[in-house]
Subunit: 254 residues, 2 copies
DNA sequence: AGCTAAATTTGAATGCAGTCAAATTCTACG
DNA sequence: CGTAGAATTTGACTGCATTCAAATTTAGCT
């Protein structure tokens, strides 16, 4: 009966599936620093705004969110801690589903979502161990450490770089599975080297050079690519990708 | 939106976590053909008998159990189908947790229980495939096939055999984790060859010969061992086990 | 500043799984 | 065969997440 010293006493009554999903969604919506508004939260969770409103009040009573009525919700440090734990589990699960079980990267989110609130610490740790303590999910999002800190990263949006920039794709920042599948088909996955060739004006398409050839992407998709910029010298010589994760990491199934 | 042709339309509204756990428990309690009584069901689920009583009425309304008030509950064919699906998922999960993730056989039930109502068909199929379509869980219980049939088996209780009988352990029929751990320590796991040496009278201890030597077990534990009897000729020569699953299938962890 | 439209909250209600206490039914035994 | 004690069900209630409809607040525009 000794109390384990986790950061937050998550086992306290009242932190259940629903609460975890709310905190998860609020975390994602507040990453820009702005409070998450009720309608957005409701939409992400597939409930009505009135339902979300009621639930937000409950979360505020439990000191998991800081709620300014009619304005929006931010996470308290406690709420953030719990959210980060769920997100850690979600992303570890995605990695596990992809690397160990061979699910495609556009399939893992659905499964991980169902499992993230159900697995326990032992399961979490075992996945982490099996995967060699990964720092990113298959899409490239950072996996929070157990203490709630995020590993360092210097990802920048590809489209915010000057023409001619070369870098390694670090993240495809979307949860749209159809788009993910398309990115995969184009060879645009984390670890692959890309160079920004051309950006057509007035929201027009974007030309990228990849090891597999030239790729033309709509602006909306290209915006989702985050890279780590390579210094020009390094960019000049190296042309092979080092990693090639993809929708199909193994060979024998699906 | 085409409707998949599963046996039972489980996706119909009203089959949720709680229902699945009830059906699972009722299935186990009615395997002897006798109706499961309310108090037993309640105890297995950790709820009060009154709560279970109410839920049983609901399950009867949904035609998942056949309820005779004050007598007990049996599963309808529909209910059995759904229960078997959950049990299949539970046992596949146990196998997965043990073989793929390296959990000890006394740890897998807890995790599998949490996950069994959450995973979907795709996940189930993927595990099945990865494991090579196993027919038994780590403890030796049969894994129902997708169509709800049980694979053939000729397991018999070791203690119902005459002294001198030799066989292969097929199942350790308990969900008591402490006992499972002890069985594992004694080398009494599915696949291992045992011979029944001696049964002390008046409920006394039982002596077994295993590849690792002589084991003395209490009657209550020995009763849980199911074997497949070997013909005497075969029993005479072969002394090495062929399988050796155990709490620790891998070498590099835990 | 006023007004309208959108966002948000409130209030009343629902469905579900559970509790407790009281009433009912069953069963086994003298 | 009657009755005590156990098992079971019923009834009234709770907590939670949800819904819908109505009320309220906010924000944008002229």
């Amino acid at each position: 009966m000794t109390r384990r010293h986790e950061q937050v006493d998550v086992d306290r009554v009242g932190v259940n599936d629903a609460v975890l999903h709310y905190l998860d969604v609020i975390y994602r919506l507040t990453q820009d620093g702005q409070p998450a508004n009720t309608t957005e939260i409701a939409a992400k969770l597939g409930v009505t705004p009135s339902g979300a409103s009621v639930m937000l009040r409950r979360l505020a009573e439990r000191k998991l969110v800081e709620l300014t009525p009619y304005k929006g919700a931010l996470l308290t440090p406690q709420g953030r801690q719990i959210a980060l734990r769920t997100i850690r589990r979600h992303r570890l699960l995605e990695m596990f589903l992809h690397k160990v079980m061979g699910f495609a990267w556009d399939e893992v989110d659905e499964h991980a979502h169902a499992l993230e609130t159900v697995i326990n610490e032992q399961f979490e740790d075992r996945m982490d161990e099996m995967l060699g303590h990964p720092t990113r999910c298959p899409h490239g999002h950072l996996i929070p450490a157990k203490d709630g800190t995020l590993p360092p990263a210097n990802d920048v949006p590809l489209l915010e770089q000057p023409i001619g920039t070369t870098g390694i794709i670090r993240c495809i920042d979307t949860d749209n599975n159809a788009w993910l599948r398309y990115f995969g088909e184009q060879g645009l996955v984390p670890g692959v080297q890309v160079s920004l060739r051309e950006v057509a004006p007035y929201g027009g398409p974007v030309s990228l050079e990849t090891p597999h050839g030239l790729v033309i992407l709509g602006r909306n998709l290209a915006e989702l690519i985050l890279i780590e910029v390579m210094p020009p010298e390094a960019a000049a010589q190296q042309t092979t990708p080092q990693h090639i994760p993809s929708g199909q990491p193994f060979s024998d199934h699906r």
